[in-house]
Symmetry: C2
Subunit: 206 residues, 2 copies
Amino acid sequence: MWRTIQVVATVEHTVAVAVAAGGGSEAVDEHNLIPPFNFAMVDNGIFRSGFPDSANFPFLQKLDLRSIVYLCPEPYPESNTEFLKSNEIKLFQFGIDGNKHDHMTALHFLSEPFVNIPEDTIREALKLVLDVRNHPVLIHCNRGKHRTGCLVGCLRKLQRWCLSSVFDEYQRFAAAKARVSDQRFMELFDVSSVKHLPMSFSCSKK
Amino acid sequence: MWRTIQVVATVEHTVAVAVAAGGGSEAVDEHNLIPPFNFAMVDNGIFRSGFPDSANFPFLQKLDLRSIVYLCPEPYPESNTEFLKSNEIKLFQFGIDGNKHDHMTALHFLSEPFVNIPEDTIREALKLVLDVRNHPVLIHCNRGKHRTGCLVGCLRKLQRWCLSSVFDEYQRFAAAKARVSDQRFMELFDVSSVKHLPMSFSCSKK
């Protein structure tokens, strides 16, 4: 369902990242940290974003990430893999298709509410995100809108947010690209199967 | 510059809130927590939102707030004040005007970049937000877009975010209501006067 890359830090890797980031330490000195597109804090130890590139590495290093939950089927770029190795960050990849059906009609969405968002895969990813042993964790897909939005939305349902608030947050990141199919998926997602998981994390805890 | 309301919890207040919230415990049982409009986590112990009403109280109680930084000149509603008392939440109010100049021209913005956003007031509010003794703290104005967006944007500058990322976050909440004057204010805000403050809080800390 997902694959893990065990990594080991080396001095070369650290240097490689500094170069790839165009001089990480300089960037910090210049007060020029660049979060990934659509970056946000979801909860304590849980972050979300679009696809990070080398320009974002100096910022990501400050998050002290323990793991990344990556929701696309495409292989991880070499520079990103090197960054994970040099920072001992574990990668969990879930290959969910991009679900680009922008020209579908609302009627089509209603007849196929789960277009390319597999509930079992989201449930497996959610379990990893909820496991504090993986924190701090960054969830990302390509644009941080649809796949990431659906996973975070399911997490909010588990946190007992009302559906309108779940959609409000989803739409804040998806903006003009918001999809009826994604919101149908979140609405129909059954959280009962993950309710047994420890909900120790919470906005209220530091 | 700001005023503080010292509060004491009483059983009556707790009951009053439960009623005002339409039955807080029931709402929780129904998995129906309602965050305030435009609610989000800014960093550990720091939240932002639009104006909370009684429907949001059950959710806000889960944040274990120690204080609220309120950025509007209008007096706090009685039901909200009662909620603060019953939960021993300290209120810091900064009366910043709504800055509703939607019909101004870009030229006008350039000639008056600080339209109604007073830098000294934002700096004072920022100092309170950065003080971990006030955490968890909720920052809010009316819609959680402009005044709250400017304060959070100045905090991001202090966290050394590049300006384009600061604006990206601001626009996510302001959406169609994004203002050139607010972004000019954040761009010109001088963080050097608050750089001496402890930056112990960070996305990377739990």
